[in-house]
Each structure stands twice: as structure tokens, then as C-alpha cells.
Symmetry: C2
Amino acid sequence: MRTANRHNYRQTAKEKEKLSLLTTPISLPVCEIITIGSELLLGQIQDTNSTFLAAELARIGVDVRFRTSVGDSSEDMTMALNSALGRSDLVITTGGLGPTEDDLTREVVATVSGVPLVFKQELMDQIDAVFKRYGYRMPESNRKQAYIPEGAEAIENPVGTAPAFVNKIRGKPVICLPGVPRELKYLWANAVASWIKKRFALRENMVTYRVLKAAGIGESKVDTLIGDIIRKSQNPKIGLLASPGEIKIRITAEAKDKEDALRLITPLEQEIKSRLGNKIFGVDDETLESVVSRLLLARGLETVVLETFTCGKIAERLLESIESPVRESMIIPRYDDLARCFSITEDPPCIEEVTSVARGLGARYARGVGLVVIGFLRKQGESYYVDGRAAAAGEGLVKTYSWTMGGDPAMLRQRGTVIGLNTLRLGLISAR
Amino acid sequence: MRTANRHNYRQTAKEKEKLSLLTTPISLPVCEIITIGSELLLGQIQDTNSTFLAAELARIGVDVRFRTSVGDSSEDMTMALNSALGRSDLVITTGGLGPTEDDLTREVVATVSGVPLVFKQELMDQIDAVFKRYGYRMPESNRKQAYIPEGAEAIENPVGTAPAFVNKIRGKPVICLPGVPRELKYLWANAVASWIKKRFALRENMVTYRVLKAAGIGESKVDTLIGDIIRKSQNPKIGLLASPGEIKIRITAEAKDKEDALRLITPLEQEIKSRLGNKIFGVDDETLESVVSRLLLARGLETVVLETFTCGKIAERLLESIESPVRESMIIPRYDDLARCFSITEDPPCIEEVTSVARGLGARYARGVGLVVIGFLRKQGESYYVDGRAAAAGEGLVKTYSWTMGGDPAMLRQRGTVIGLNTLRLGLISAR
């Protein structure tokens, strides 16, 4: 039921052959990610590490075919490692490199490799230096972290105490990374990505993605407008991923280099953009909030936000970048308080009143635009609904939107947030 | 490096024997969760389904030992299913039950079982009814969803179009659930949990958890205060899970029923509570915001929140429940605006000024308490730091806190949010 961008592996053999007539044939290395830690199996934490690694590996052209999580058990880790080695060209593990007794990755990898653990003085010095930098004396237990399997290549970790390493088992690299997300990301960016690219002779951008992002349009409407292109797409392949209020259209091309890939992608991208028009708000890493911030800053404008049922998510998204165009933000969750503060007389308020509130808020600052999103969750059977009103006004700009929608509170908040940001965006581009 | 609540499987055989002298011996069924969808392998979405299932399975006494994600490929799904059947008593899959061509779970399960797919008129009628309810005509492609492996037990899905089913393969149940989180949760609560409990004759609460939650204290301080209890704990077993600003202390007991488990847990819980005092803010499902809301509502108080660098996360957490004590919330991200609006004269402001702002905000409402959290992210090399001030004041209540902390912006926001909520909580309990 999840609509998504899917590689259809069943077609690999036949289709790849056909595509090879169009583009240089590509054989992507197959990777398995193993995340280690009983907290993952108890559902205590989200496994964000493997999501991060999966996205990064896809970006550099590695085909992640399996992700596995195991607990802190030698037996289970051994089983997972062996089965990964049987079906992949590359294995990446995260976690289990800490100083405590239940951190077992080093031991398991050494055992599966059939080698002993060896002490590395240079790792010990580096761990010691991390403690010194923070003004602590290294506890004896951290000595354990200076051991790696004999023959393994150490990856120094200047941002934490867990050195990572690469060991070859049956000719296949097993890269063991720490479980702390910040350390993992640092090591990925500074050592691991380039190591993998070199080892598998990955050329830059053999697989190139372009993601078009749309708001203010439903999934079925997108399908009506571009379904024909999606269904006949092969290389580039087009997939949809919908979340409340936003749709991602992903164009994936395989070619011998980025230039060739873009030559395949660009005509499709143009066609989709022309069919969807201003529903497309951004490309690739752009977010609704980054686009709105950019549009505001480019015009020297700032914004004041007033929200009700969205609980501050609009302001939060606009505030997440360090350079933010938000001067002030308010949440007034109840109708009575809102009516008193802003002379609103109806519930749901009429769009004129909402627009006038937005204009008033914008006028608090010299180059201010007000953004107001008003609505109140009301129960209807087991579900909720909202009668929503959004207005962006100020500095010659006016854009409004009224809607009604039903669902669970979290989804309604998320959709309301997208609608609010998108209303401001549409106001800004139409005022161009 | 992740500090967490970990089962140490290596000890299973030996330790279980020892524990069996104390408590009734327990053999938990071993489960593997397989989540299906190429979007998971591309890192496009977080796998929240397996986190949900893992937590729920742990709750009813099922031992999740592996989690695997595979793409929409028959070959990879078959491999994952076979390896799961080899090492588990129960397999749960999510995803791949939709109407489109790349939804392959039905086919793969039938093939691995060695049976054909069969059409079920009652499922067809139920799918048709879902479309009718939303006023649509069922597309022909959805007919595919009325097929399940011969001999499988259907699980009707009244909240979506993907019926789920259970099939036995080599005597082991394979439960196939849809990938849409809302449908998955509905089916879990209304059919699947009870099915599993019955099938494995799980008595209520053979494994009982109690989670104590602490704020305003670091992990190393917790270790100093209760490390001796943690290290000697076996049944109950104690584990720590730290996140920015908050620490969870999990007490896990295995016993023949909940009453016996609580008899094991209670003395430890009391001891930990007495050592940590008011650092413990809640138990089990309680959150900092639910505790603060409860304390406010119980005293007939409401709150007005002013934030800077926390970007509205304090208000958001307090607003997430439908019954919220927040009357008004503001974010003013820049020092100059804040200084002008609230007559603040220093940066960082002195705690007296912050307290007076809090008192003024609280006074806007009859039984109002102001909560103010002020700080500004400043760069220091590659990192950021904040000089923070928090004050809760109004209705005879005053509590303040000043601190300095460094790190990345997201972590600083999260910790600032916890500090703000905790300051209000400490104010409310000391005003009792």
C-alpha cells in the first residue's frame, strides 16, 4: 500500500540488458547494513542510522538490498554477519563498539574472521586524547576500544571514543562503525564514503536522482497528470512518495556519468514541471521551509506567524535554519482567546478577518508579512476534522486558502503546516 | 557506545537456569520482523513500523531477535523469509500487500509455502465496501488484494483495502500485515496481538517492564547513584537509555504473572526513586509534558510560554494532547526584539529579568503561570553553545534555572526544551 519509488529487482536481468543498449551497463555493489543493539529490538529507539546509511549509500551508487537489526548477542550477531556475507559484496555494521561488556562487535568480527584481537597503541593514544580534550581521565574500561581484529584497517574517530575499522572476511569488506549518530555521520563523511567509492571503483553519480517536490495537490491528481509518464518510465524510472500534504516525485537515471544521467533526466523533469506548474515547490534537498525562507530573504522580507491547531510546527520549520526570516511567532490554541485578541467574530472565521489579522501582524515590522493559519480540531465519531483558514498578507502580497479536512490530529497538524507554508510560498511567487 | 537496556543473550542458557530457581522458567517465542519496501532501502522513509511492532511484541512477551528490511523483489523477500523461518518461531511481515505490480508479499508467501493463491469473495466484498464508504468505485487493480495463499487465515482490514493474513509455513506462523502505519496499528490492536497471545499461550505480563524517567541529571550522575544496583541486577534487570536531557531507567522482570513480577520490581523501584528523588518525573508512558499538564490542570492553572532558541518545541509538546493547559505561546528568536518587547537589558539576561517576564506573562490570565526559556545559539568553532535562562512564575510559584551548554543546534534545542518543562514541573511540585 505504500506508494514509493521502487526498484523492481525482478526485472533486473532482462531489463538491464535492454537498458545496456541505451546506457553503459552498470553493476552496483550489493550492500547489507546491520545495526546492533537490543534497544532496537525492544522498539525503544528509532533506527535512524540505517536510514541515514541507506540514503547515503544509494547516493554514491551502492545497492542496499538488506537491512538487519540484531541485539547485543554474539550468537545472533554471528548469524547476521554470516548471512550478510553470503548475499552481499559489502557489509556495514553500526553499534557495539563501546567500552562496556555488552559491546561485542569487535569480538564477533574477529571470531568470524578467525583472527585474534590485537591492541593498537595509536588508537589508545587517540582515545586518551578525546578524554583529555574534555578534561577527563580515561576510565580503564575504555582500553577495550583500542583492540581491533588482527589485519583490520583502523578508522580513527576524532569525535568520540569508539574507533571504527574495516576488516576483510572471505574477501568482502566489513566496515564497523559506532552507533552514536553524530560519530557515524562524521566518519561517513570524512572516511567511509571515499573508502567505499575507491574500493568498488564507483564513478561519481553512476546513479543520479532528481527529486521534484509538490504541495497543494493530491496523489491521485498527480497520477492523473503524469501517470502516463510514470508507467512507461524505465531509465529514468519515476516513483512517487506521498506524505501528508507533500508528494515527492523521484526521477532515477543510471548512466556512465552524471552528465549522461542528466541528459536522460532533464526532458522528463521539464515535462513534469510543465504539467504540475506551481504545485512543484522545490527540487532535491529543498524543503517547503527552505524555499519560503529563501523567497522571503531574497525580497528583504520577514515574517510573523500566528497558528492554532498546528501547534507551532509552521514556525518551528521556518526557525530550524540558523538564518531564519521569522521575527515573531504566536500560538493561540483556543477560539475565545483568539477572538478576543484579534477581533475575530466567527468560527470558523471568514477569510477577510483572517487576512486582516495577517496584515496587522506583518505591519509590526518594517518589511513584515503576516502568516496566519487558523483552525480548531473537532471530534466527529472516532476521527477529527478541521475547518481551516490560511492567509499570508503584507508588503503588497495577499494569498488565502480555505479548506476542510478530516483525520487523526497528528496528520491534520502536518497537513495544516504544509498548507500554511505553501500559502505563503504561493503569495510570494505570485507577487513577483 | 549506545547505553541501553540490553538483554545479554550470551547468558541465556546459564543465567536462565539460575533464574529458574527464583522464578518460574520462561521460554519466550522468538520472532523476526520483516519490513518490505524499496523506499526503506533507499533511506527515503524511517521504518517506524518495525519500531512499533518491536515495542508491542516486547510488551506481550515475544522475544524479537532480528529485524530485516528488504526491497520489493521476490528473490530478496524469499531469501529473507527463508532465513527468518530458520531462526524464529514467528515471522511478521509488513508491506507489499497493495494493489500494484510491485506488491509481492502474497505471491512470495504462497510460493515459499508451496501453495497457490486463492480468491476470497468475502475479502473482495470487504474491499469493495471500503471504497463505497469513501464514495469511490473500486479500481480493477484492487481485485488482486482479495487473493491470499491457500489455507491461510484472512484478517479483515476495515480501515484500508489491504487484507492481512496468517499462513503457516513449516509449522511456523507467518503474519503478513499492511505497510500503512495506521492500518498496521489498527490490525495489531484489534486482531494480531490477541492471535499471537493465544497461539503461543502467552500469559498476561510474563515479562513486566517499569520505566522510571529522570530529568535534570546526567547519565554519569545516575550511574554514580544507582550503578551498584544496575550492575548486580539480573531479574529484575535494570538498563539505562539516555537521550538529550532525559534518562530512562528500565526495570524488567520475568515471572509467572504480573503480580509476581511487580513483587520483584517494587522494592527496586522504591530504592531507585529514593536515591534519585525529584529527578524522577514520571513512570512508564508518562512524559514530561503529560506530567506538567496534569500538575497544572490539577491545580486549575494555565500557562503562557515564551521561547527563543527552542523554536516552539516546549509549547508544541504541551499542546500535543487535546486537553492542553497552554493559553498562549510565543517565540521571539532574536535578542533585540525580545529586549524591546519585554524590557530586557542584558544578554544573557539576568535571572531576575527573566522571572519578571514570566510573572508578567502568567498575569495575562486569571490562573496563569508564565514559563520563559531564553537563550541564543552562538557559534564556537564547529560547534554551538547557549547561555540559557529558564523561569516559571505566577500564582505563588517561582522556579528558575541558569545553564550553559554546547553541542549541535538540534541537541541544544531538545535539551533546552527538557530544561524548560522540567523547571515548570519543579516549580509546581515545590509549590505543593
